[in-house]
């Protein structure tokens, strides 16, 4: 009898413990396999479904929906089902601000995923900071967003290679190319373009001091967003006859520029080889019209990063959307998974607790490696892919890269000394933080 009583007590205690766990802990899964959540929390995304960067926002919104579904199928985050709250910002800064306020103040989102352009993230980061909402950037990438003293936001995390990483890599690669002395620059006139171009030039001059930028600095930048006709730039390139064109124009601008340049001269990019930022979306947008032999640097091209986890993602993405995932899709999927893993480790959606599980921690990336979010600028040591456009031999409806080099995040990450100098305001003109430029840092000059 006492044995039966003892067993009954154990059973009661076990049942009570289960109840407590169910009430306080994670989601529970019933015997039928369905997951029971504590409730629903929102993940906010203000993104360019329309406007200049619509091509990117389209992929990002699809990827975030897929990532959220994957997270929910594995029990959600800290016991909550996650719902993607997606608003269109039309690639407009003011609209991004309006959306971010709505997402935080009205929709009570638990986390924000960053916008496409750095100008938008520059405007929305202070709102996230003021309201203590974690903002994970997977597309906007100016290093000023994480290092300029007046922009520093402890709730801002970057899982995309920043403009320092991209610009200096491109500058270093171009600087080492034989027979490239005269370079023409074309870039969008806003934070990202200026930041990346300055990084490119600073690195180029260090690697190859004799390299000459042939067009005056005031003509490097073109109106952004969207410059529908590129006659002037094309004409100027013909006029200067550079050995190489360096560009970080993207989306509709890159497509218009390439199309119009090829109409002026089908051999335009053979005469004036171009090194440019690109993405799967840009390749896919122009398809067979994308010139072969272009030297590209890309953030996460799926065809160059093969690994089992990415392969499964490509299949899942393609099955659902009948499209190939762009670089943005890969990185934004990583962004959602990073937050989800940290939230589950924290057992909470409290931003400070989640942040403790992000900074200094490592996360598995679809890109085939683990990245770590370092303390300080909270930048992930993610890599960059460089290569030359080549025919995909019918495998994809767009060119891919050959002669691929996957640069390692640790090799291109901004040195800690430089990061600390930037954040301490030692790399500015007249103590004006808006002039923050790593090329002004004492350690860079040295």
């Amino acid at each position: 009898m006492s044995m039966v009583r003892r067993q009954a007590r154990w059973l009661l205690a076990a049942a009570a413990a289960l109840l407590v766990v169910a009430a306080c802990g994670g989601a529970s899964t019933s015997s039928s396999g369905t997951t029971t959540f504590k409730g629903t929390k929102k993940l906010g995304l203000s993104i360019a479904i329309t406007g200049q960067s619509a091509i990117y926002g389209h992929a990002i919104s699809q990827s975030v929906k897929l990532a959220v579904d994957d997270v929910n199928s594995k029990g959600g985050v800290a016991g909550y089902k996650i719902e993607a709250d997606i608003l269109d910002d039309a690639t407009d800064v003011n609209k991004a601000v309006e959306n971010t306020k709505q997402l935080i103040l009205q929709d009570n989102v638990s986390v924000l995923i960053g916008q496409v352009t750095s100008a938008q993230c520059q405007a929305t980061s202070p709102i996230a900071k003021q309201n203590k909402v974690i903002l994970i950037a997977a597309t906007c990438n100016s290093y000023q967003l994480t290092n300029e003293p007046d922009l520093i936001n402890p709730y801002y995390v970057s899982v995309v290679p920043n403009t320092y990483m991209e610009g200096t890599s491109a500058g270093s690669l171009v600087g080492k190319l034989p027979n490239v002395k005269k370079i023409f620059i074309v870039s969008p006139r806003y934070l990202f373009g200026i930041s990346e171009t300055n990084a490119f030039v600073a690195s180029l001059k260090k690697v190859n001091p004799s390299a000459q930028i042939v067009n005056p600095e005031s003509t490097w930048y073109v109106p952004f967003p969207t410059n529908p006709r590129w006659d002037s730039t094309i004409n100027a390139i013909q006029s200067y006859k550079p050995d190489l064109v360096y560009s970080n124009i993207f989306a509709a601008d890159q497509q218009n520029f390439i199309k119009q340049a090829l109409q002026v001269d089908p051999d335009f990019f053979k005469k004036y080889p171009m090194t440019t930022l690109s993405s799967v979306d840009d390749l896919n947008g122009l398809g067979s019209q994308y010139p072969l032999g272009m030297h590209l640097y890309m953030r996460a091209p799926f065809f160059a990063l093969g690994n089992p986890r990415l392969d499964a993602f490509i299949k899942s993405y393609h099955d659902r959307y009948n499209e190939y995932p762009s670089d943005w899709a890969v990185m934004d999927y990583d962004a959602v998974q990073t937050w989800a893993k940290a939230g589950n480790a924290a057992g909470s959606l409290d931003p400070d607790k989640v942040l403790k599980q992000i900074v200094g921690k490592s996360f598995a990336s679809l890109r085939g490696y683990n990245f770590t979010i370092r303390a300080g600028d909270q930048q992930a040591n993610v890599g960059e892919t460089v290569g030359t456009t080549s025919d995909s031999a019918g495998k994809y409806p767009f060119p891919i890269l050959k002669d691929i080099t996957n640069l390692k995040g640790d090799d291109i990450l901004m040195p800690t000394t430089l990061m600390n100098e930037l954040r301490a305001g030692k790399c500015e003109k007249d103590n004006n933080p808006t002039t923050t430029d790593f090329a002004l840092c004492p350690s860079w000059k040295a």
Partner: protein, 294 residues
Amino acid sequence: MNPAQLLLFAIGGLSIAAYLFIVAAGLSLVFGALRVINMAHGSLYMIAAFVTVVVAEKLGAGLGFWTGLLVAVAVTGAVGALIEIFVLRRVYREEHLVQLLGTYALTLVIAGGVRLIFGSNYRTMRPPALFSGSLKMAGYSYSVYSFFMIGAAILIAVGVYLMLYRTALGRNIRAAVSDSDLLSASGIDVARLFTTVFVIGAGLAALGGVIVAPSQAVGLQMDTDILVLAFAISVIGGLGSILGSLVGSVLVGEVISFGLNSQYTNQFALAFVFIIMVGVLTIRPWGLFGAAEQ
């Protein structure tokens, strides 16, 4: 700047002016006759560009372009007729603000529809073989397609002029611009005339969309991009004046081309367009070739 560069930038400006004129002429024609500022004009331009690309994808660049031209003008004209009959007829007697809101709402509806039908991705097509390749002049290469755009704009300008000044329809349109009530009293079916004018305006937007499709990425932002410049041109040239649209387009095209090429004006090139617009509005509010409202 040497003469060869001058020619280079001037032709670049004309190729910008070409497609801007075609679209602005439609906007101006509709305003002149119907007294409606059609915010959905850019949407019609976008529909035509998407239709052309889709037809070209099916039939190839050569046949696809010409077939696309016919299909796009027909589809856009039909959409234009529906807009005029079901929306604009209800707001003709309302204030301009109500008309603006009505046509703005249409831009949102059409943008959503285009996204649903054609998707969010950019589309692209090649120019027909006849207009591919380049010409070499004074040491520079020029796109043959740019000359095609300029030629098409000139043809369209002549066509619109002949239609307005050499046909009975044109006479009625000009009469409607002067006094639509008097025209109605003389037995002309003004409602039908207005539908016809709006369809012609939509057709011009469509021609602009078709012509631009092989040289630009066709995407969802096209509607607003073109509308801003077309509106500026119409204001500079004078809303309702086709000649004004022509002069305004050339002015805007050349300002953009030369402005972007000078290191001193590069960052203000687009701003100059709006500075000119403000200047014209200040000195001559009805535009360079427009007529002051009585």
